[in-house]
Amino acid sequence: MTEEQDKRTERAAIEALSSEARLSYKVEVTDKDGRVVQDEEGPSHSYVRQWNEILHLQAAAIYIGGGGTVKMTDGSTEGNAYYSVRSFASNAGIGVDRSGLRIGKDSTPVSINDYALGAPIAQGTGLDQLEHQLTYFTAPSVVGSTLSFTMQRSFVNHSGATISGIREIGNYVEFTGSMLGRVALGFRDVLGSSFSIPDGGAITVTYTLKVTA
């Protein structure tokens, strides 16, 4: 069975669950004329521990000095994390590569202890850099017994050459600790195939968050 068949089988199994929270992704590469040259869809693999840790800050109303501990994307640990208006914020602006959806080149399988992408692509127009567009959201909508919303970000290649070897995607979410704007990995996925973005082209990542009653 190929990796793509594996993903289809897993997707079908997930769809068969009648009542579950689901996270799935779609990745699409377009050339400079807007033609789709490569794409992939699949179930997410997966939320990582920081997701539950930030949720705990909120649910337990962990206040300043309450011992909230969350590992940040730079590998250091924030030991004074607390509940805040910024928990889970992912609406990164144009050119911002510290939060929001990110892509990278590492293909190491996802671990519950992942705290960052393995080899994230930086913002810019230099070698192996991509211009990060806005991470934006569609509002929640209910269809039948399912509620869903999406988040999406495009990355444009103006580096002058094809950027190849894109293997991972994920979301960097904000939280609050000893200072505002701390950032942690919320979820990460390793793609089934390697993506290449031609010069002048773009890659767009869409995550769908869905729950069915």
Binding site: A21, N52, A59, N91, I112
Partner: protein, 190 residues
């Protein structure tokens, strides 16, 4: 299956602490309100949300959102239980028929509910919250539903939202002097 899963367990004890029955099931389910709050936080915005009072006052990203740690006696926040059997729908905004705090007929004493710190074991991270309810009503009470109410803030008002609701697979009879403990565990597995 590498997806987030919410499970609940129910344990009923008599007045001597002897376990009379228990149930462990996958939750049905996180409700739309859970994701409406999540959306408000992720997108740093506001959206509509019907509170437990049945009024749509919306939700805006705010520090108190999702708070479901509850003190003893509080029946408007934290894990809650009821006697209703209406099927769960995505837009449920309260329990079908909530058991209120107290010692009167059909009431149960609500103990404190404190979410535990997330714990990692193997490739999973579990987030557990638990609450015990005591039946000092003088009669038997049958628990048929459970859920979680959390604090939310709209553009002007604080309030409470139902973010989880389950109809128990087996109605649980709690004798006078006995108790029922509900655990919810949110597990993510990489």
């Amino acid at each position: 299956m590498k997806i987030p899963g919410l499970r609940y367990s129910v344990v009923v004890r008599d007045r001597d602490g002897k376990v009379l029955s228990c149930e462990n099931q996958r939750s049905r389910s996180m409700l739309g309100n859970w994701y409406r709050i999540l959306y408000a936080h992720m997108a740093s915005t506001s959206t509509s949300l019907v509170r437990t009072d049945g009024i749509d006052r919306g939700v805006i990203n705010f520090g108190d959102n999702w708070k479901f740690v509850a003190a003893a006696d509080e029946d408007y926040m934290g894990i809650v239980i009821g006697t209703g059997i209406a099927a769960v729908t995505i837009d449920d905004y309260k329990l079908d028929s909530q058991i209120m705090h107290g010692t009167g007929s059909g009431q149960m004493r609500h103990l404190a509910s404190t979410p535990g710190w997330p714990s990692v074991a193997g490739s999973s991270c579990d987030f557990l919250t638990s609450r015990t309810f005591l039946n000092n009503s003088g009669g038997l009470i049958t628990v048929r539903e459970s859920g979680i109410y959390c604090r939310v803030k709209g553009t002007t008002y604080y309030g409470y939202a139902c973010i989880v609701r389950d109809v128990l697979a087996t109605p649980q009879d709690v004798p006078d002097g006995g108790s029922v403990t509900i655990d919810y565990t949110l597990r993510i597995t990489a």
